[in-house]
Symmetry: C2
Subunit: 85 residues, 2 copies
């Protein structure tokens, strides 16, 4: 089970591009998905796919490879618990 | 440019799994992402990746392959215009 409190700390890194919980996406014309309020299991699945290289995006692969399975669960628990925006 | 009105018609197919604009996701424990209010360019990019087979998911590949580039833009225009939920 994910630890929301630790997830909240970990998503600091995500904010630069995903803008959570900031005001706006840093790249409004670039396809950066909104992740606040996203489905928890989808977030876990997506991060594992990036980590394994099954889903390819250089930045996200590097980020996911730096995360443990527990940290992925923590991030997903936090992001899925906050309101979509 | 996407045609929101046509997109609204096209997303009828998406509702079964993604639950837009229905009440709940059909598979709460399965990793189906929320797509209402998602970033327009991300939606276009994701559908093209599924269509090209660069992003793999049997159902989504089949769906995307049935869509024209214009229809993908229409869907993205509609989904990005509605409130996240």
């Amino acid at each position: 089970t994910g630890d929301k409190k630790n997830g909240r700390t970990l998503v600091y890194t995500c904010n630069g591009c995903h803008g959570v919980p900031g005001t706006n996406n840093a790249y409004p014309q670039y396809p950066v998905p909104k992740i606040a309020g996203q489905n928890e299991q989808y977030l876990i699945s997506a991060l594992h796919e990036y980590k394994a290289g099954d889903r390819t995006h250089p930045t996200m692969m590097a980020q996911a490879q730096s995360l443990s399975d527990q940290e992925i669960e923590d991030i997903a628990a936090y992001l899925s618990s906050i309101a979509p925006k």
